[in-house]
Amino acid sequence: MSFFFEVLIGGLLSGVMYSLVALGFVLIYKASGVFNFAQGAMVFFAALTYVGLLEKGLPALLALPATLAVMVALALIIERIVLRPLVNQPQITLFMATIGLTFFIEGLAQMVWGANVRGLELGLQDEPIQWVTETSGMNVSKFDLVAAGVAAILVTLLALFFSRTRIGRALRAVADDHQAALAVGIPLQQIWAIVWGVAGAVALVAGLLWGARNGVQYALTFVALKALPVLILGGFDSIPGAIVGGLIVGASEKLAEVYLGPFVGGGIEGWFSYVLALLFLLVRPEGLFGEKRIDRV
């Protein structure tokens, strides 16, 4: 039983990491209705830039704000060059544009910083926390716990940002109805720029954590692919949904791998969340927290 809990907690904690990536998606989706496939590439870009700057000899304290600046700048450029011209296009078109963007960012990142795998040292050890192991007999990673903490702080900050600030409220209005928002004088493009900037920052946090855990490498972009089922489960436009979805995906895929994997030869982590999301979609196409749509004819 404690093994089960160990797996579950491990899964939930890595689920938090998924949520972190998914958060970036939700932010952008809420504001501009774009499913930003390139969020994963942005995570990769952020991590690579940070490591790259460290390698150039920049101290960590300087490299962090510098990377943040780069990410925000990148996000703003994307918003300006890619998304604005595509405003009012069908969602699928926007989605495909972000796939193109993914390729571009990946190419750019590796061109600038090189393609070799690098480690990222945040001063955190990915090792079991002693006293937890002693008291309950379960292995809970210190790293995961800290990551979860960071994620929690980030979510709280974002929640505050949305509910307390003027921009946040405007953003909520935009998410509800673009036209109406425009009509009451909310500067749509300004909002979009801000949201993309925030998404860039979120990507940096996610990139640092994922990079520290798995090494900074091309494979980081696949994290984005994990975020998709998370969003399906949680709904594309719900921040709590992203968190809950992440937890579900993280926990269920770990449990599935451990308990189902051996029967089918393992490796099911790669697709389990997708099949889960697919089944879920068939039952409830609007997601856990999404609203049911009525088709006007």
Partner: protein, 358 residues
């Protein structure tokens, strides 16, 4: 300007509905086909045939398959490569397990198995729309590849998961040279492209486009959404399956499931976007573009490298390629969402109206 259409009038619907209704177009296409069949095999060298033209044709076929699903029927798919894999591995097993299996029949069998798998993964499209469907096709991509890797029977318990395609023998003739393989692939692609065009211009194609453009209206005029969508998945997957089989048999020879990864799916999606969504011609233009661009890029970079002494690394070229592809996709979506085929179309219209403006 080149089109002199005065005097080309149609006295029957059959003439009016033919694929190339302008005489000049008919001649041009016939000439192109003749060149492809008669001239290219003679003048093409081994490198061009096996490294450029054969993959180009195979990718065209795969792009055509994806175009049927995404371009005509409006269902976005990111699992193209997986359906190709199904076709490749199913053909391999047909050849392996049925003695005396004709290879063409094995390709058809491979396509058919891919079609069945396509229908399976297309089922969710009845309930979910738009890019939610991406999840279903991504699930297919990941699940199918995992399945092919994990089930040893499929790869005939090859330890590395790599299979070696059997030799192509038709009526006693072994297709071993690049020229022979090229001609075989060309024939198959030509026939299947013609069939695709026929479906596209007929009732099936119109039903697909109706579902794509306005599904409620399509339903109200009596089109069965389920049938139209599943048919699109089936036909699309069949095309991809055959393309996958050719990929294994006529191009790579030895192949592992990982060759059909998500990256290949994206690559084929790019062909469709760059070439032109919802056109048969676009599939070919897109495949040509995506196949030739890396060649062009590396030639250019090498040229610059040797002349300017820049010491450009091989990896730089591949990264540059990623950026160029990504940039082009965005460029096309913004500037010409209907791709090269539309550019061609516009150029043609201009020539037809010359000297008047378009």
């Amino acid at each position: 300007m080149l089109y002199r259409e005065a005097g080309q009038f149609k006295v029957s619907y059959a003439a009016d509905q033919q694929i190339f209704s302008i005489r000049q177009d008919r001649f041009a296409v016939l000439a192109l086909v003749a060149i492809a069949f008669l001239v290219v095999p003679v003048v093409g060298n081994q490198y061009w045939l096996s490294a450029i033209l054969i993959p180009f044709l195979i990718f065209s076929l795969a792009a055509l398959g994806l175009n049927i699903l995404t371009g005509y029927a409006g269902q976005l798919s990111l699992g193209t490569a997986a359906f190709m894999a199904v076709g490749a591995f199913a053909s391999y097993n047909f050849m392996l397990r049925i003695p005396g299996m004709p290879v063409l029949l094995a390709f058809i069998g491979g396509g058919t198995v891919a079609a069945l798998v396509g229908i399976l993964f297309g089922l969710p499209s009845l309930r979910i729309r738009g890019f939610y469907l991406v999840v279903a096709t991504l699930a297919a991509q990941f699940f199918i590849l995992w399945f092919l890797t994990k089930v040893g029977w499929i790869t005939n318990y090859s330890s590395s998961g790599v299979i070696t395609a059997q030799q192509i023998v038709i009526l006693g003739y072994a297709f071993t040279t690049p020229t022979a393989k090229y001609l075989l692939v060309l024939s198959i692609v030509t026939v299947m492209a013609l069939a695709a065009k026929n479906m596209a211009r007929g009732n099936v194609g119109r039903s697909w486009m109706a579902v794509r453009d306005m599904d409620v209206a399509a339903e109200v005029i009596g089109i069965r959404l389920m049938r139209a969508k599943l048919l699109a998945f089936a036909v699309s997957s069949f095309y991809c399956g055959v393309a996958g089989a050719l990929f294994a048999y006529a191009y790579l020879g030895t192949v592992e499931p990982e060759a059909f990864n998500l990256d290949l799916s994206f690559r084929i999606l790019f062909m469709v976007i760059i070439g032109g969504v919802g056109t048969v011609l676009g599939s070919f233009l897109g495949a040509a573009f995506v196949t030739l661009l890396p060649v062009l890029l590396s030639v250019t970079v090498r040229y610059l490298d040797s002349n300017l002494d820049l010491h450009i690394a091989e990896s730089t070229i591949s990264n540059l390629e990623l950026m160029v592809f990504g940039g082009l996709i965005i460029f096309f979506l913004i500037v010409e969402p209907h791709g090269l085929a539309r550019l061609w179309q516009i150029a043609k219209e201009k020539l037809r109206l010359w000297p008047f403006p378009h």
